[in-house]
Amino acid sequence: GQQVMQIPQYQHVQEGEDFTTYCNSSTTLSNIQWYKQRPGGHPVFLIQLVKSGEVKKQKRLTFQFGEAKKNSSLHITATQTTDVGTYFCAGRVGGSNYKLTFGKGTLLTVNP
């Protein structure tokens, strides 16, 4: 079945450093979504990417979708303590009843 892999599993940074998490799928995706889950919280939708090579920005966050629509990345510039949490990518394969398959996530911790 479809697999979505994320690396790294954990990342600890000093406040102000940059952070990147990568997502790879075994199959071509129709779209990919990113969610953030704060410690003890529930996943919250961040963004969706649909087009090949798409790049979207939200303040300090930059999201990219690969040309082959099999990989994606999330980059945070100048991390802040409020960025702490687990970042999940979730991909959809076309024709699969739009089922989302989540990666295992990357846990980001930020040292103030």
Binding site: N31, H42, P43, V44, F88, G94, N97, T101, F102
Partner: protein
């Protein structure tokens, strides 16, 4: 706008007992999802409803798990009998409709511990 409501928030049971979780989605959302999130992993879809019909239940362990959404609004997920490996957070989510471009809104989850 009220979010997705779930209850209970926490539940501790012994193995072989049964348990039920309740979810009330955002008003007007036709699609409802139940996910299982084991510690350190991403959410895994158990079942997806469109109104009161099942769209996907391919990953639901049907010998012990059941779910219903009788009136197309709130939903219950039941486990009977529970096993140790069922310890997880059970998340309910909803979206406006079923489709490729709709974000999902998650509830706070029910943390289940099976001893």
């Amino acid at each position: 706008e009220a979010g997705v409501a779930q209850s209970p928030r926490y539940k501790i049971i012994e193995k072989r007992q049964s348990v039920a979780f309740w979810c009330n989605p955002i008003s007007g959302h036709a699609t409802l999802y139940w996910y299982q999130q084991i510690l350190g992993q991403g959410p895994k879809l158990l079942i997806q409803f469109q109104n009161n019909g099942v769209v996907d239940d391919s990953q639901l362990p049907k010998d012990r798990f059941s779910a219903e959404r009788l009136k197309g609004v709130d939903s219950t997920l039941k486990i009977q009998p529970a096993k140790l490996e069922d310890s997880a957070v059970y998340l309910c989510a909803s979206s406006l409709v079923t489709g490729p471009n709709y974000e999902q809104y998650f509830g706070p989850g029910t943390r289940l511990t099976v001893t």
